[in-house]
Amino acid sequence: MTPRITDLAGIGFDQGAQVILRRELALLPPGGRLGVTGTHDALVVHLAAWCRREGHALTVPPDGDPVEPGTPGGPVRAWIVPGPATRMRWAGGERAGGVDPSQVVSRPAAHWGLAARGALVEPGGPPAPFDLDRKEVVWADLAPALYAQAAARQWDPATAIEWDCVFELPAEVEAAVVQVMTYLVENEQAALVVPARLLARVHPHFREVTQLLAVQAADEARHIEVFTRRATLRGEELGTSSAGGRASLTSLLAEPDFSLASFLLSVLGEGTFLNLLSFLGRYAPDPVTRRIAALAHQDEARHVAFGVAHLAEQSRRDPAFRGRLRGAIERRHDVLADTAGINEDVLDALTLLAAGSWSPRAIADGHAAVQRLQAEMFDGRRNRLVRLGFPADEATELSALHTRNFM
């Protein structure tokens, strides 16, 4: 066998000689040895130290070994016979599934941890603390497409909204907008915390799910920003936050189960909010509020779509799953039974926004509009429950048990 010889020229280990040597050693046939030529002053000393550390055997011919005429680099200054350490490190290596979403595995190993899906994983290492590690619990086939859509539709709060457009509102109408914004902020804070907490528990193997949850949390961060900015566009004082509203939102944080948390937040809560944001798009008294309602609606619709897709897949696989969903609604209803529900200031503000003025006739119209809103919310929830496989009568019953706080 013709020995393989590499010429390092004047390059030493202080300039990356080891990179060349690793490549050359990897190309050696089994049982082969690598001759090294080069002129760096410390080459042989550093070769000896490097080979010792890497577990390679090194032979240094006292006067160098001649090479065939025409071979660049002069005599061979040292011969390396690679040791088994590199091979042994990867002997039990395995692919962490495949990079394509179709190659997601049912249950990724805990020690794959933060490795990229599809990477060759060295055995060993600490088990990563991701308890949501079963495909059937977290995955939805729609997740990759939804993530791509979410990434493509990110908007910049600084430029997507014409903050300095000119409008004037009566003080009480402005106060109603501020009250609604104050309410939206606290709801969106819950909607940020829930996916963020779940995200930290999902095995990174389910990359598109974690990406989607991350964008969902980022969406909510943006919503919090624009709602706050609209609330303070004309003044510094925010509206009220009721104990009952906060009790309802806090109950969302208590659900540890991925699917049930997703159900309560995305399918029921954010689903209900789609109607609220449409209502604001219709009745908001100024272009800034209408615009931010439309942008938030676009994002929330995506959150609802993932929740429904994920849960519909589970429901199809396991009809008994619907019993768990029902239980989650009932538990939350029971927890909230003794709380006041939605902040009355919010309902009054929504009524005034739909009314447009304080005239009794206008208020009556506004009141009717808010009643229609609540009916639409009810119908929307019921329809989504039907899509999850609930019979119509049961969907109607469960829709009625949803929190009066909307989210």
Partner: protein, 279 residues
């Protein structure tokens, strides 16, 4: 009975390494435990006094243990060592542009070395220079005295002093010269190797005569049986800096024995005779 080993806590990772090895050894049926020492002298004294059965010894600690053991009629032996403990060299480096081309040019110059008790950065290279006839002024960079040079800080300080022009040459382990050039402590092309020692051996697992032979043999067999392919021990082997344990040998310490004698570091019976050495 439990086989008790001593190790010197020169770095926090020593706890990780030996706690990991302890768990592995015990799971493989060896009753094993370890104690940590703050410096090598007490570890060697306890080994010879029979308070521990084995000591994970620096080369200098091996020299002292051998002398103490023989003086008391209880000779010690090296059980195993790392593959990376075999055939090390120390190098004496100068600034590339210094104009110092031969060892003779170092005459009267300040030469940076490690701690007083560092075999690789002080005892061995300074003896090497003396053997070559160079009368130099050794300037010690005393980091981790008592750790027998395990702490790399002294060598790094010597290398920095060389670059700063405070010393004309610096003594470092070949592997540390490689490390310093790769990490940038010594920029590419900034230094030149003036001379180097012959190969010598580094650490070994030293066994006391009084140690229970069956447990010792099992200990040696388990260590040499550790495989780099085992994902449980590989991180520990990486931390300890080896890819395999090899049978110990006592043949690589002659130069250090001579350096110890030349400097009067220990006497023939293993007493510490070095002045100003207070680990």
């Amino acid at each position: 009975m439990t086989l008790l080993m001593g190790a010197v806590a020169y770095d926090a990772k020593v706890v990780t390494i030996w706690s990991g090895f302890r768990a592995w050894l015990r799971r493989h049926g060896l009753p094993f435990d370890f104690v940590l020492y703050s410096h090598y002298e007490r570890q060697v004294e306890d080994l010879i006094a029979g308070r521990i059965h084995a000591a994970w010894n620096s080369p200098l600690a091996w020299v002292r243990a051998r002398r103490l053991g023989e003086a008391r009629g209880e000779p010690v032996r090296p059980l195993v060592m790392r593959d990376t403990d075999c055939d090390l060299r120390s190098v004496v480096v100068v600034r590339a542009d210094s104009g110092i081309d031969t060892v003779a040019d170092l005459k009267g110059e300040a030469v940076g070395a490690g701690a007083v008790d560092s075999p690789q950065a002080t005892l061995l290279p300074l003896r090497h220079l003396r053997e070559l006839g160079a009368a130099v002024e050794a300037r010690l960079f005393q980091v981790g005295v008592g750790l027998h040079g395990d702490h790399v800080g002294g060598e790094r300080d010597a290398a920095r002093a060389l670059l700063a022009g405070e010393v004309a040459a610096a003594c470092v382990l070949d592997a540390n010269h490689l490390l310093f050039t790769q990490e940038g402590t010594l920029p590419a092309g900034s230094t030149r190797i003036l001379t180097m020692t012959d190969p010598y051996d580094h650490c070994n697992m030293t066994i006391a005569t009084s140690a229970p032979s069956d447990l010792v043999e099992e200990f040696g067999a388990l260590l040499t049986g550790m495989s780099y392919a085992d994902p449980e021990v590989r991180p520990l082997l990486d931390l300890e800096g080896l890819t395999e344990w090899r049978p110990g040998r006592a043949t690589g310490y002659a130069a250090l024995e001579a350096a110890v004698d030349a400097t009067g570091f220990y006497d023939a019976s293993g007493r510490v005779t070095a002045t100003a050495y207070d680990p």
